[in-house]
């Protein structure tokens, strides 16, 4: 395989991305499961497999873009970097606020309107070329800014940079929107159950407000799962939503200490147990990837059909340096 005119010798069953990493090429990537679109490359010659274009825009497909983490290297003869100027736009930081000890709320302004659904995600790229995905907590019909909830990760290159270095008034590069975890008005009478751990609450907060704004008729129940009471960083916002919307309820769930106003235990266990009518329930699950996969499977086994389950797993690059099984 040729990459930017350099010769690459892929191993058996290796993805294009893994081959490039092994040859120490400077390539961006984040989730490595074909989700985040950070590892997009352009194919000059070769056969792109179907799974390497899942979720791409038609315009990207037409240009021969593919997800290098999902593409077997042996069927690509020649590939190159994409001119990232065509993928990224510059956004101005207009707000940065610490919401808890390790979560900060970032608000961004774009020169032109971006068309997106609350709950989709964007990729941020900083000056050092580090790229990470963050879900949108804002709602295009309600907010003039993009809102992201950034959790400070241990050794997190991007999150530390945002917490320590990035200032209001500065600019950051963004790509997107991406993803299919968002509200649609197809089943307005259905109950919506939102299950989020940590900053998995961010896309759910957007989805909940989007659904309320669309006058959703069924109940909307928001389960936010965290370890300690002080991690419930959206407490006042979600309590407010509950106050002003009859069909919205907020269920904070803590695992490490008792919350006098909430529930004790894992939010996904509690939520699944409380689902009564599987035929009229829509589920959104966001946050820790193991929790998301486990909850999705259990919900399916409980009788909820897969097309009523939407997920946004927060995969972490720190755990992705090894090849995925």
């Amino acid at each position: 395989m040729l990459f930017n005119d350099n010769h690459i010798e892929p191993l058996k069953d290796e993805s294009v991305l893994d081959a490039l990493i092994r040859h120490q090429h400077d390539v961006s990537y984040s989730c490595k499961i074909g989700h985040c679109q950070t590892c997009l490359l352009k194919c000059r010659e070769g056969t792109i497999s179907q799974q390497a274009q899942v979720g791409l825009k038609a315009t990207d497909v037409n240009q021969g873009f593919f997800l290098s983490c999902q593409q077997p290297a042996d069927s690509i003869k020649n590939a190159e970097h994409i001119d990232t100027k065509s993928l990224f736009v510059s956004a101005k930081v207009i707000g940065k606020k610490l919401c808890s000890k390790d979560v900060c709320r970032l608000r961004l302004e774009l020169p032109t309107q971006m068309y997106y659904h609350a709950g989709q995600f964007i990729n941020l790229k900083n000056k050092h070329g580090v790229s990470r995905s963050y879900s949108l907590a804002s709602v295009p019909q309600l907010d003039r800014y993009l809102e992201l909830h950034i959790r400070l990760m241990e050794n997190g290159e991007m999150s530390y940079w945002i917490f320590d270095t990035l200032e209001v008034g500065e600019y950051i590069e963004i790509q997107g929107p991406i993803g299919s975890c968002f509200y649609t008005e197809i089943n307005k009478q259905f109950n919506i159950v939102l299950i989020g751990t940590g900053t998995g609450a961010a896309p759910l907060y957007g989805i909940a407000r989007d659904a309320l704004n669309a006058a959703h008729e069924g109940k909307i129940i928001f389960y936010h799962g965290v370890k300690h009471n002080s991690d419930l960083y959206l407490d006042s916002e979600l309590n407010n939503l509950q106050l002003i919307n009859k069909n919205f309820s907020y269920e904070p769930c803590t695992t490490q200490e008792i919350n006098p106003k909430g529930l004790s235990g894992r939010c996904n266990d509690i939520a699944l147990e409380n689902i009564t009518n599987v035929n009229s329930t829509i589920l959104y699950i966001c946050g820790n990837p193991e929790m998301v996969a486990d909850t999705k499977k259990r919900a399916y086994l409980k009788g909820i059909s897969l097309d009523k389950i939407f997920t946004d797993p927060f995969d972490r690059k720190e755990l992705r340096s090894k090849k995925r099984e």
């Binding site: 499961i33 996969a293 999705k296 499977k297 399916y300 086994l301 009788g303 059909s305 897969l306």
Partner: protein, 122 residues
């Protein structure tokens, strides 16, 4: 004869009715669920749909060679006769649950059974 079976069972609608029942049975069976436990559940459902369509005598592109290649990694992980039989039982239970007449169930089981050697790499 196969087309006739597919039509008698109710065609694609029958596959759609059966796939969730079948996949839930398989996923709930701890003796075989690890072979089907995929983080991409949508892709797994797609595979089960293709399988059921074939077993129902419907239009499919399965060749014995594909069957063999697709199951080879599972055989390496220890897929054997007992797992094959467990899946077959879930298939037959699914059809019973959907009130499919026994003579049609027998036809489906015969088609499913014909994949035995390819699935187990024999």
């Amino acid at each position: 004869m196969s087309d006739a079976l597919f039509d008698k069972l109710g065609g694609e609608a029958a596959v759609n009715a059966a796939v969730d029942i079948f996949y839930r049975k398989v996923l709930s069976d701890s003796s075989i669920s690890h072979f089907f436990d995929d983080t991409d559940m949508e892709a797994q459902i797609g595979k089960q749909k293709s399988f059921l369509t074939m077993a129902f005598g419907g239009p499919n592109n399965y060749s014995g060679k594909d069957m063999r290649a697709a199951h080879a990694p599972l055989v390496e992980k220890g897929l054997n006769e007992s797992h094959f039989n467990a899946v077959a039982t879930h298939l037959s239970d699914t059809l019973k649950e959907l009130n499919v007449p026994q003579n049609l169930i027998d036809e489906v089981m015969a088609i499913a059974g014909s994949t035995h050697d390819d699935v187990l790499g024999l």
